[in-house]
């Protein structure tokens, strides 16, 4: 942690960045995202195993948009997010300094995009065993069971959109659910509105999701919606050999095609 702090302090002291994005202690034993603008403030910066929130999402927020340059304490999920955001023209390399941190919490120093790409490849995706188990459990269900499972799983959804707000890849200024001419997705958080909302979101993230699981963590009613994206990421990797978050120059699977894509399902 000290090396992370030292880096952050130096970057601010040397005026290399205006802002460092990281974590500090929060309520009780929680940690929380924090924004450091002076070397002295960095005293409060922490990094530990609880710092799993994907703070790359702040890169699309005002504070980061207005900063001329910034640094971010970046675990592998954050690094993947940054690369994917760069691939989607949402962040420029010259603006951001990545303080790379491994899954184990080891600081690997500053990463430019090229180094970040290498780093990403060495850090496995954050898929947990329980997530895998749930995917398998659902896949083993019958059609009706699956449908009922998801209708029930989504029914507590209150459409607070914490999933969307916490997702670095959900940066649209106007979300699909907000377009009302036509009203593609019912706004009301009833079962149908919830089903279509989560289905649409899964499709929009297909091939772009970096599998940080933040949507699930932020959900106040604990819907396992991350596994939709996990499942589709696996599928996209398997079918199209395409994986998000590994390169800053990347065309996501659903913006490309090959002549040999499968069509055994087409009559």
């Amino acid at each position: 942690m000290e090396d992370i702090k030292k880096l952050a302090r130096e970057l601010l002291a040397d005026n290399k960045v205006q802002l460092v994005l990281g974590f500090e202690n929060g309520t009780a034993n929680r940690v929380r995202p924090a924004f450091f603008t002076t070397p002295e403030a960095v005293d409060k910066l922490i990094y530990n195993e609880f710092c799993i929130q994907n703070i790359a999402l702040y890169l699309k927020k005002d504070i980061c948009q207005h900063a001329a340059s910034l640094a971010i304490t970046a675990n592998p999920n954050v690094v993947r997010s940054i690369l994917q955001l760069a691939a989607e023209n949402q962040i420029k390399e010259e603006k951001i300094k990545i303080i790379g941190i491994t899954h184990e919490g080891k600081c690997v120093g500053l990463l430019d995009f090229k180094a970040a790409e290498e780093f990403s490849k060495t850090q496995p995706k954050g898929l947990k065993d329980e997530d895998k188990a749930l995917i398998e459990k659902i896949q083993a269900m019958s059609l009706e069971e699956k449908f009922d499972y998801w209708v029930e799983a989504f029914s507590p959804c209150i459409k607070c959109y914490a999933c969307r707000a916490s997702c670095p890849m959900c940066y649209c200024g106007k979300c699909n659910v907000e377009s009302n001419n036509p009203q593609w997705i019912p706004v009301a958080p009833h079962k149908y509105g919830n089903m279509e909302w989560h289905m649409m979101r899964a499709m929009h993230l297909a091939g772009r999701c970096i599998n940080c699981g933040e949507c699930n963590r932020s959900c106040p009613v604990d819907i396992p919606l991350n596994i939709l994206s996990y499942m589709l990421s696996d599928f996209v990797l398997e079918e199209f050999e395409s994986e998000a978050g590994l390169s800053a120059v990347f065309t996501p699977a659903l913006s490309s095609y090959t002549m040999v894509d499968k069509e055994n399902f087409i009559k």
């Binding site: 309520t27 929680r30 929380r32 995202p33 959109y161 707000a165 916490s166 009301a188 958080p189 604990d222």
Partner: protein, 338 residues
């Protein structure tokens, strides 16, 4: 009404709940499922989670559900036939085992929906609701009811308040006529007692500030940079508003299937960018900081001014639900010492 003091033991309480359900009343109480405690329909006392300090969501959905059908309509060739919801048919509902802060939340909601203009649907739901709260033995780092004129044993908003005094017995305070009606129908289950000092049985929660001080401070800090600072890590979701027992903002949505349609009232949040977005593209609350400021001003300045009450009950749900740990009590304390 003067408060009537009684005692009830746990087996009698179980019987009471049984009687409610048998008489066709719907009983909603905290139920723990997959590690999360939420209000849910219960049949017996065994279903109820008495331990969790606060359910994730508040009890407000009993009177202000996340989706409320307010009317339906049918288009004909040259007309539209509107059918209002028959709110006289709403069921009798008992909220049981909620915390005093939950009960207190119904007061500001009532002020929003049944103040100058009366929302008949809300009113009907509230009238059919009887609130039987349980005092808090414990508090956590998010609780701050004592700073907003509430308390672990506060009776505001409750029809009946239960305070656990021994392992087997609750001290009962019958607060309202609705509460008395329950007592009258079930006198066999209650025992007489003199008033009891509840303090030893309640959670200890230090007062951090007063809402009056916040109200006063807000007069001069509308343009302060504190809003930017506090809202910096806000992700802009609506979790805080949706779990809040006192937040009453809503959106009206029409949904159609061919010539049939319904009008829904759904929860909405002032934290959303689209909440105040004008058709022109102009947004009076363009920045998240402005939206955060609105949340605080609404609860601690506008509501006191217009409705003579505060819009926060100190339950701390918003802070617990916040994905980026925005702690409202902490922020209010900062304002109080400005």
């Amino acid at each position: 009404m003067e408060i009537i003091n009684k005692l009830i033991d746990k087996s009698a309480l179980a019987t009471l709940i049984e009687r409610f359900t048998k008489s066709g009343k719907e009983v909603f109480a905290p139920v723990k499922s997959k590690g999360i405690s939420e209000f849910a329909r219960v049949e017996t006392i065994q279903d109820i989670d008495f331990e969790t300090i606060a359910t994730k969501q508040s009890a407000k959905s009993l009177v202000f559900p996340k989706v409320e059908k307010i009317l339906s309509y049918e288009k004909t060739f040259d007309d539209v036939i509107v059918n209002n919801v028959d709110y006289t048919q709403f069921p009798e509902v008992i909220a049981f085992g909620n915390r005093p802060c939950d009960a207190a939340g119904f007061i500001p909601l009532d002020a929003i929906f049944a103040g100058e203009l009366v929302d008949e649907i809300f009113k009907a739901r509230l009238e059919k609701l009887t609130v039987i709260s349980i005092s808090c033995k414990k508090a956590d780092d998010y609780c701050f009811c004592t700073s907003v004129n509430g308390g672990p044993g506060n009776t505001t908003g409750s029809d009946i308040l239960l305070t656990e005094t021994t392992a087997d017995e609750y001290f009962v305070e019958i607060v309202t006529e609705k509460g008395k009606a329950i007592l009258d129908a079930n006198t066999d289950l209650f025992k007489d007692t003199a008033a009891i000092d509840k303090t030893p049985f309640l959670a200890k929660l230090e007062q951090q500030f007063t809402q009056e001080v916040i109200n006063e401070k807000l007069n001069g800090i509308f343009e302060s940079d504190i809003w930017d600072k506090q809202a910096m890590r806000c992700v802009g979701c609506g979790a805080c508003a949706f779990v809040c027992p006192a937040c009453g903002c809503f959106d009206i949505q029409d949904e159609t299937k061919g010539k049939n349609g319904v009008r829904h009232r759904c929860w909405d949040s002032c934290g959303f960018k689209i909440f105040t977005l004008h058709t022109s593209g102009h947004n009076p609350r363009e920045k998240q900081a402005q939206r955060w400021r609105q949340r605080i001003y609404h609860k601690f300045s506008y509501q006191p001014e217009q409705q003579k009450l505060f819009g926060c009950v100190g339950c701390g749900r918003c802070s617990r639900a916040c994905p980026s740990d925005m702690n409202i009590a902490e922020h209010l304390k900062e304002i109080a010492v400005l």
